[in-house]
């Protein structure tokens, strides 16, 4: 019988969703599908194998195992990046299924995002994910389905250009200038070309069409519950539902034959935050063995922060997530990553303070799926 696994981050992101997804996908790679049900091309999910360490943005974290990825209508895609990453991953033959209403990010969304982020500093990556969602909320659309029709695509791009032109009129001059500067060297023909050259990696399909083709649906969440549009802290939130809300909606409407649902809540054994916004008031940590940290300081997000894990925030995140699957039978699991980096961390102490009962608890002691162990309580 088909089953579902949900990978949900309990913090501000960066917990180890890539690792967990790769671990779950490795159980039955031939019969698995990774479903991206939130976020978009701005994610950075790192998977490490013997031969390669790769940070996924446009493909699911099961791709190194040959597991295809499905992008739901809640996600965004940036075609030139799919082509780039797809070519890089060519030896692994990566494959995407995309819901026809998945939202497409354009150059204009990114330029506008960068222009306003420079003023606001909400913690955005500067890749236009939030502006794409905002534009769709304003009913100016560009969907995955449209990419197949060149004339339609051109008209859609024109409306998006006009949309931002109007929006910019109400923005300070600094924003207008930044936006214009970003657009200076832009070549629209190249964007159109990359939309065309997606073909080898890309199929438009609804999840219900794939329901009978796979036995294990792994929902790879994005970001973390503490950044969720409903449960995070304004204005430092993302424009998507990072709880199990979207996955639950997908399962109940498209995957009616599912017998078993397992939720894997992922956290590092310390608190992390990459991007602006409030951080837990816990003590500092001394990490070892973390040379492989994939988060580096970047222009738009700033520095990567770490602190001791805040149990209150874990309980908050778990309680938020529970709201979204009240009527669903599920097993809950906890995945604690990066245990090799903080030798003084006691998971026994942690469990005493958590209000949720977990069926299984896993711990990771290194970057590869082989470094994941089942932990037992003392």
């Amino acid at each position: 019988m088909p089953k579902c696994s949900l990978v949900i981050d309990l913090g501000f992101g960066d917990a180890g969703k890539g690792l967990t997804t790769d671990f779950l996908a490795s159980q039955h790679p031939k019969h698995s599908l990774v479903v991206r049900c939130s976020g978009g091309h701005q994610i950075g999910h790192t998977v490490t194998t013997e031969v390669l360490t790769h940070t996924f943005s446009n493909f699911g974290s099961g791709s190194l195992l040959g597991v295809p990825t499905y992008y739901s209508e809640h996600t965004t895609l940036f075609p030139p990046a799919i082509v780039d990453e797809g070519n890089f991953l060519k030896p692994y033959q990566p494959k995407l299924y995309v819901h026809p209403l998945a939202m497409i990010t354009t150059f204009y969304d990114i330029a506008y995002n960068r222009a306003i982020e420079k003023q606001q500093q909400h913690g955005s990556c500067g890749l236009g994910f939030g502006t794409t969602i905002a534009r769709n909320k304003d009913e100016v659309y560009l969907y995955a389905n449209d990419l197949q029709f060149q004339w339609v695509l051109q008209q859609r791009l024109q409306s998006i250009k006009t949309y931002y032109k109007t929006k910019l009129e109400h923005q300070p001059k600094a924003v207008q200038d930044y936006y214009k500067n970003e657009l200076k060297d832009y070549n629209e023909a190249y964007f159109l070309e990359s939309c065309k050259s997606l073909q080898p990696f890309y199929n438009v399909a609804a999840l219900s069409e794939l329901a009978s083709k796979f036995e294990h649906f792994i929902f790879e969440g994005s970001q973390g519950i503490l950044l969720d549009t409903q449960h995070g802290f304004h204005p430092h939130t993302t424009w998507s539902y990072t709880t199990s809300k979207n996955a639950v909606q997908q399962i109940t409407s498209h995957l009616k034959t599912i017998s078993e649902i397992d939720i894997y809540y992922v956290t590092r054994c310390y608190q992390t935050r990459h991007g602006n916004g409030p951080m837990a008031e816990t003590e500092p940590v001394n990490l070892q063995n973390n040379e492989n940290e994939a988060n580096v300081t970047n222009e738009f997000q700033g520095v990567f922060r770490t602190q001791a894990l805040a149990t209150e925030l874990l309980n908050y995140a778990l309680s938020c997530d529970a709201i979204h699957h009240q009527n669903l039978q599920s097993n809950k699991h906890l995945v604690i990553t990066c245990l090799d980096q903080l030798p003084r961390f006691s998971y026994a102490n942690l469990f005493q303070k958590l209000n949720t009962n977990f069926k299984t608890v896993y711990g990771s002691y290194g970057p590869k799926r082989q470094d994941i162990k089942k932990l037992f309580l003392q």
């Binding site: 994610i43 780039d84 030896p91 990459h274 580096v296």
Partner: protein, 287 residues
């Protein structure tokens, strides 16, 4: 949260798209004189440094003969090979390649026998230097080129973290179709590098100096009957032994560079580096 290197790179590329495949050589290489930013007289030292994004840089110098008979090689590299060179190095486990491009000419006849870029770790940025290079009109007709200026520049005007921090040698590739001058006269050193003091040095000696921090290779392109003759290969074999590489098909030159780096790059620590296990056939597929 997130970051998306591939998405960022794609955005950068979209901003800088130049549509090379539809352009002629004259349209790509627009420089008609030496670009001031590539003037070696102003380049006291070019640095290849580790960064947070690229913590284990590997410095690679590609010094290309850009005189008349060879003009199609830079053209091919910009149009086709270059975007794959850095990608295939990364795919094969060299995660942080930094490539410096040098344009080489004849220091007796040419106006700009040495043109220097900067160490760059992305194809877009490297491309900036490649497309700025001034392609010399004709060869000197003296059956020799100033490839040894590349050895001189590498030895005395670069500072590379892979060697200084980790004792991993960088890589220096000269690429051409002619023998090398036997010496570099003192006046040439003074005229074309950032120094007022110099003595004439033999090619053997300057190669030995470059070999202190670089693995030094020369690639001889057999792109026509003339280039296949023994007299056009000079004494490269004596100078470099097995590091003299004959390339029958110039289109494979970027692939050979990637292969040579992959085969010769010594891992820094046994645990964190996987490049020794890389499969050459994978590189073949990438290029």
């Amino acid at each position: 949260m997130g970051g998306g290197r591939f998405s960022n790179d794609a955005y950068a590329r979209l901003r800088k798209a130049k549509n090379y495949s539809n352009k002629s050589r004259e349209e790509i290489f627009t420089s008609r004189t030496l670009d001031p930013e590539m003037d070696p007289i102003k380049a006291l030292v070019r640095e290849s440094r580790d960064s947070e994004e690229h913590p284990e840089s590997v410095s690679i110098i590609v010094a290309l003969d850009v005189t008349g008979s060879m003009g199609f090689v830079p053209e091919h590299i910009v149009k086709e090979a270059l975007p794959d060179l850095i990608g295939s190095l990364m795919e094969a486990g060299i995660e942080d390649p930094q490539v410096l491009f040098l344009g080489i000419g004849d220091f007796i006849y040419d106006r700009a026998p040495l043109q220097v870029g900067q160490f760059e770790s992305s194809a877009e940025l490297l491309d900036r230097w490649l497309t700025r290079v001034y392609l010399e009109g004709g060869g000197g007709g003296n059956n020799q080129e100033g490839y040894n200026l590349a050895h001189l520049f590498a030895a005395r005007h670069t500072s590379i973290d892979c060697w200084e921090k980790r004792q991993q040698k960088g890589f220096l590739f000269t690429i051409g179709d002619e023998p090398v001058f036997p010496t570099i006269p003192a006046e040439i050193i003074k005229r074309y590098t950032c120094t007022n003091q110099a003595e004439t040095i033999t090619t053997e000696a300057i190669i030995a100096e470059a070999q202190e921090k670089y693995n030094v290779f020369h690639m001889h392109l057999e792109h026509n009957e003339w280039a296949k003759q023994e007299s056009r290969k000079g004494n490269w074999k004596t100078l470099l032994g097995e590091n003299f590489i004959e390339i029958p098909d110039y289109k494979t030159v970027a692939k050979r560079i990637a292969n040579v780096v992959i085969e010769n790059h010594k891992p820094y620590t046994a645990t964190s580096n996987t490049n020794t296990s890389s499969d050459n056939s994978e590189v073949e597929n990438m290029l």
